[in-house]
Subunit: 119 residues, 2 copies
DNA sequence: CGGCATCCTGTACGATACTG
DNA sequence: CAGTATCGTACAGGATGCCG
């Protein structure tokens, strides 16, 4: 399995985590799968929710997230095809870990945007 | 000030935070400034601690982190030059927010490497 | 619908040399 | 020592077309 993208040498666990969520849309995908609707999402839904992402990038990101055990992919093997994506337990735990960071971002973005400067 | 690299539209605070720490070495710099020694670090020290980073990249990352209010840059205006970098309060808060993520990374990397599979 | 194959591009990053 | 300037590159990401 993955979670070992970078050859050896991490200074800290954070760098390792960054490898997993380092893609341009990775966290957006996580967000969509957890907050976007609550339930599993199909490829097209995801693409629509995320807005500007292209199919290729979405596909590759999903593939990597599946490899890393973050995202569960359920293929219903129907015609026309139906595939649903959801977070694995590990994915949920990652999402939780990201929430702290999200709060920070929220607070500091809003600060930077609204508050002139706390002196 | 910055913290607004991306034009509008964040889905969640996490994406915003990712803009701040999205660089290849950003979190490593944070880690070095907080865990590397405890005290402020000079440019050369930082470069040595981080290992593979080039001067150009370190300089640009530092500049961005300063712009984002994460890193404090103290220029002593001496000859030869002496400049010390440290985390601002905001930087420390970011570092704390990252620690949760770091724990996740630590746990899951180690899991993936040592444990075969928790079934 | 859910992709993959192909091609193209921007840019983040890297290497090296040089300056105040 | 602390950077800037310049150049080169690798790769992530984007656009398009096609297929099961």
């Amino acid at each position: 399995m993955a979670l070992t993208r970078r050859p050896g040498a991490y200074h800290c666990g954070t760098e390792a985590a960054m490898d997993v969520i380092g893609g341009r849309w990775k966290v957006s995908v996580l967000w969509a799968l957890e907050d976007g609707d609550g339930g599993p999402l199909r490829f097209g839904q995801l693409r629509r929710i995320l807005g500007g992402i292209t199919e290729k990038v979405l596909a590759s990101h999903l593939r990597e997230l599946v490899e890393d055990g973050i995202v569960h992919r359920q293929d219903f093997a129907e015609v026309p095809p139906r595939v649903e994506y959801s977070l694995t337990p590990r994915g949920k735990s990652l999402y939780d870990a990201l929430e702290t960071l999200g709060d920070w971002g929220q607070a500091n973005i809003i600060d930077a945007a609204s508050a002139p400067s706390p002196t």
